[in-house]
């Protein structure tokens, strides 16, 4: 095993995670989730009235996610405002979360989820999904399950769990592959699978198996954060 990750982690080691709920008093639910230096916060508002009316669904509420990588979150200032990238991530986050929600009790309404990345060190979309799923639970929205998310990377031929910025920019050999995955905590239904780079089909199965193990750890962190608020 000559392969070493740039920050010295083991191949299946996740960066230190922290999670906290109820961080935004004015939101109906809120949470923070961090993977090492990546910090994501999420705020949930609603169910509330949806305008324009033609977007309303008379059978259930709709979920509206807005992901924003804040301008100070990266070393070079990012131009603030919506971008192609943030629109894409907003949409995939929405798709990753909506199967977990049961919104038929709130017809014609919207649930707004704001995801902000305060510090970015790769894996921001999965940190955002983890935070948003906790925030939705804290907002008292009926849910099937919590959603856990993690990014699996491939550096040359080695699979690594929880990609950071150095690993994302890895260029030797086969180069870097980034696979963000999201899954229900208590069943093996995946709600997000993206792939940026190249991977062999048989290696993909290994990557998913690695993700399953990582999800269990993430779920414990999320569960603990939600439970300890009320333990005093």
């Amino acid at each position: 095993m000559a392969f070493k990750r740039p920050d010295g982690r083991k191949l299946d080691e996740i960066r230190p995670m922290t999670a906290k709920t109820g961080i935004i008093p004015n939101a109906d639910g809120s949470a923070m989730f961090t993977f090492g230096k990546t910090v994501a916060i999420a705020a949930v508002y609603g169910p509330r009235m949806l305008h324009p009316q033609h977007m309303q669904d008379p059978k259930s509420a709709i979920l509206r996610v807005n992901y924003d990588l804040l301008s100070f979150s990266v070393a070079d200032r990012k131009k603030p405002g919506p971008s192609r990238r943030s629109q894409e991530i907003s949409k995939v986050t929405e798709w990753a979360l909506s199967p977990a929600l049961d919104l038929k009790d709130f017809p014609n309404t919207v649930i707004d989820v704001q995801v902000y990345i305060l510090q970015a060190d790769a894996s921001t979309r999965v940190a955002g999904i983890n935070a948003a799923s906790m925030a939705l639970a804290q907002a008292g929205i009926p849910m099937r399950d919590l959603v856990c998310a993690v990014a699996i990377g491939k550096m040359d031929k080695e699979l690594v769990v929880d990609v950071d910025k150095d690993e994302e920019d890895f260029e030797d050999g086969e180069g870097a592959t980034d696979i963000p995955l999201a899954r229900f905590a208590n069943s093996d239904e995946f709600t997000l699978l993206q792939l940026d780079g190249k991977i062999q089909p048989e290696v993909m199965n290994k990557a998913i198996a690695l993700a399953d193990k990582a999800m269990a750890k993430i779920y414990e962190v999320q569960k603990k954060a939600l439970k300890e608020v009320h333990s005093e």
């Binding site: 639910g29 709130f106 014609n108 849910m143 399950d145």
Partner: protein, 238 residues
């Protein structure tokens, strides 16, 4: 003198006084295993397990497992007393903002005395605060009623918000908590199920004390025997 009607709230129990098993659960967590248990509010059956659908306290009462949510937006039900603010006047009544995705509608007929259609703001103007009862909830909207004891326009005082899921605790079993606060401060208090609280007292100090007391209760989610604790709190915060 506006008295809060406690009889509407008997379905909510003071969480501190019954010795049943309670645990904090997150959505998707298995609360009970086996066909012996039945899923109640906030829970569902999956295979042979009863699984939580919401974040809150799981409570087993006999065979039924239900989840008391910690937080979340107000969901209107018939006969809930709510406090709202007049947001618009239309030809047949008033539109009331009740802090929900839909506005409430208070028909003209609900006013206790005759109101001239051209001078509806003489009775309720935009911005006025009212306490009303939810008459019906339908996909078309929420209808309010204002005929009843303790309902009507709330004049003077001020309104603040608490989390709607804390309202049963603030009222207490058969109004024990709210009556304690009223007795200690001498203020008139009306609490809506939507989490709006209206307070009016003789002086601003006692009004602010009510607000402090209620916010103190809203913070304490899992504490039992809260009414006794509040008596002590009033002792310390003279």
């Amino acid at each position: 003198m506006k008295e809060f009607e406690t009889k509407n709230n008997e379905e909510y129990e003071d969480m501190g006084s019954e010795p049943v098993s309670r645990t904090v659960v997150v959505p998707g967590e298995v609360v009970a295993t086996g066909e012996d248990f039945l899923p109640g509010e906030g829970a569902r059956r999956e295979g042979s397990d009863v699984v939580a659908s919401r974040y809150g306290l799981a409570e087993k009462i006999g065979r039924v497992v239900k989840i008391i949510p910690f937080s979340g937006a107000f969901i209107p039900r018939r006969n809930n007393v709510v406090i709202g603010r007049v947001s618009d006047i239309v030809h047949s009544g008033w539109i009331i903002d009740i802090d929900y995705a839909q506005n409430g509608f208070l028909p003209l007929m609900e006013s206790p005395r005759f109101v001239n259609k051209n001078e509806m703001d003489q009775f309720l103007a935009i911005g006025d605060v009212v306490s009303a009862k939810i008459w019906s909830v339908s996909p078309k909207g929420i209808d309010l009623a204002m005929k009843g004891k303790g309902l009507g326009k709330l004049e003077g005082g001020f309104v603040f918000r608490v989390n709607p899921s804390r309202v049963p605790r603030i009222i207490g079993r058969e109004g024990s908590m709210i009556n304690l606060i009223k007795e200690k401060t001498g203020c008139n208090i009306t609490i809506g199920q939507n989490g709006w609280v209206w307070v009016k007292g003789n002086d601003i100090d006692s009004e602010l004390k009510v607000r402090k007391a209620i916010e103190f209760i809203a913070e304490k989610v899992l504490v039992s025997g809260l009414t006794e604790k509040m008596e002590k709190w009033f002792g310390e915060n003279k």
